[in-house]
Symmetry: C2
Subunit: 363 residues, 2 copies
């Protein structure tokens, strides 16, 4: 299903950042469960979408040498993404991450037999908290090495750190907090009070921000210039952000149309947890009064599997999937406009495949 | 009690970093409780010991201009210290920080009336987690601005970020994890199985590391050179680390000899929580078999105030305070040796006062 050129490129990105990680390993943390907790998501592998776009935009703006020089940044962005996942899984009480144990659960299970479930759970949570912190540090420490190869001017490395930690990171954390606030405080069936714009703003923070800084940092590396308002850098940033929103919308669709095996967790978990999505909101608005009443009293409230199934059925039937696809297509068409500024090249074609993959995937 | 020159200097450091914080405020976080949670400890004020030593070593190595140029770094180190406190308070379930509400408690109380205690507590914990993360980011973003004034070469700023996030920060987080592991897993009266060296190693991470990087970063700024092995930079780093250990030992003593009013929390909390300290270990080793038996069954286990009082009484009587003072004096004398390399100046005198204050304080 995935374009073979893109498949090859993602694999190449994966190998490139893995080899950097092995040759310049992060500072060894102790006790060893802290080290394991910090790096286990990274070591399990993944699609490496953020490293790929960072390396691609570096290559587009500066050629082969720039693409290679971007590796510490590409690795840093993947690790940055991973620390946010560790803390998100704690907040969401998600014991599974793509079918494998979440960090807090992994550590807890390790100590349950010897110390009992209560103590082990608390220790697992504490270690996950500190592992996320340590991974945040490790991520930034790779960024601080970005100029060591001599290609990237130190002023560019500092600008990337400043943009990540002073702008995109804080927006990401704000997005996660708003999401938590919606779920926990208004939670329990109150999704329908949100507006489409609030949901998109939250998605911008939670997903698009990190794609945006991935493309932007690659562009600055390639241009060897810290000016983030350079037209090409700005266009690539918007492109990645627009793709990021489309990616998240597709994620929401997969959450209700995929299978447990593919997702690595039960389908319908957004509905079970009352997570506000455009999907849910759109179907709710088109539902009959009786269906609306049912959704309000079920989403984020009911634990009964047959009720969750019926809620999913309503969401599927009332056009939320189609509306979400339509909005995703809107963002993808904006992303295409952003690409107008980018000169034709084999890397631009990869970027277009990357864009297509963001919505045509099943995982 | 504090040397008036040092008092003036600490006040000047406070004003200097506060004015930077006001003139270049951090990225505004939303919702507003996330912003408040992130910066409330900083805004409550404090002794600002880390900013002071950073500015002082910058001045020692590079004069007035260097001292001023160090401000973004001094501010960043104070914020870095603060994010570790937010997460520590969560882990330790400490609802009070110096007599005022800890972040998780502050946010929880704000939402209790409207959403009930259980939901508010969970939201308070989630916000504290994310506030610590956002503050970590804000701290690094100030470091990334360090070269903006033109005085500090970008390579020096990158080296400081690399040392903080790739070495000192990870050791700090490892220290906190070891401390948590000792308390939670071996906790409940198992302090006596530790060796003095293990306790000192933990203290190095939890306290000395951040003092060390504060002095080191100031020195690199003053020298305008990223070489952390330069003799003066290395001597100032060791000096601050040795003072940091003495500081923590004094903290442990105050925890049992001070008053609730001065500490802002009940005295004896280390004993109540079973925190392994040199103080406790030394007294334990000198105690009678009956007293040892009593300590083993009380420290970190008993909730009875009369038993905690009796345990404190044993610790006070069995020489732990004297032994801790003796070890602190050893570290201070090492710190004095480190100062031999530093040329005489009014700033060196301030550094000596700073050193004296680290142990002659009552808070």
């Amino acid at each position: 299903m995935m374009n073979p050129e893109l498949t090859r490129y993602l694999k190449e990105s994966e190998e490139s950042i893995l080899s950097l990680y092995q040759n310049k390993p992060p500072f060894p943390l102790s006790p060893k469960e802290l080290h394991e907790g910090s790096f286990v998501y990274f070591e399990r592998g993944g699609k490496r979408l953020r490293p790929a776009i960072c390396r691609l935009t570096a290559g587009i703006c500066g050629g082969d040498e720039a693409e290679k020089a971007a590796d510490p940044c590409a690795l840093a962005l993947e690790l940055y993404h991973n620390w946010t996942l560790i803390h998100d899984d704690m907040i969401d009480h998600d014991d599974l991450r793509r079918g494998k144990k979440a960090v807090h659960k992994l550590i807890s299970d390790r100590f349950t037999e010897r110390y009992g479930k209560k103590t082990a759970d608390e220790y697992g949570t504490d270690v996950a908290l500190l592992a996320g912190d340590a991974l945040h540090s490790a991520s930034v420490s790779y960024l601080a090495q970005l100029s060591d190869s001599g290609f990237v001017p130190p002023a560019v490395s500092l600008k990337i750190i400043s943009l990540l930690e002073g702008h995109f990171g804080p927006r990401l954390i704000s997005g996660e907090t708003l999401d938590t606030r919606n779920g926990l405080l208004y939670g329990a069936g109150a999704f329908y009070r949100l507006e489409k714009e609030e949901i998109l703003e939250m998605m911008w923070g939670k997903t698009a921000a990190l794609f945006g800084i991935s493309a932007l940092s690659g562009a600055l590396i390639g241009l060897r210039d810290p000016d983030e308002s350079a037209p090409l850098a700005a266009a690539l940033t918007r492109f990645a952000e627009h793709c990021g929103i489309a990616f998240q919308l597709q994620d929401d669709i997969l959450g209700i149309t995929s299978t447990k095996e593919t997702l690595g967790k039960p389908i319908g978990s957004d509905i079970r947890e009352g997570k506000p999505t455009l999907l849910l909101l759109s179907s709710y608005r088109n539902a009959s009064p009786a269906e609306q009443e049912f959704l309000r009293s079920t989403v984020g409230i009911s634990k009964e599997e047959d009720e969750i199934c019926r809620a999913m059925e309503i969401v599927r039937r009332r056009g939320g999937i189609e509306e979400t696809r339509r909005v995703a297509a809107e963002f993808l068409s904006k992303a295409e406009e952003d690409l107008a500024l980018v000169p034709d090249s084999h890397r631009k074609k990869l970027l277009q495949s990357w864009q297509g993959f963001m919505v045509d995937r099943n995982l």
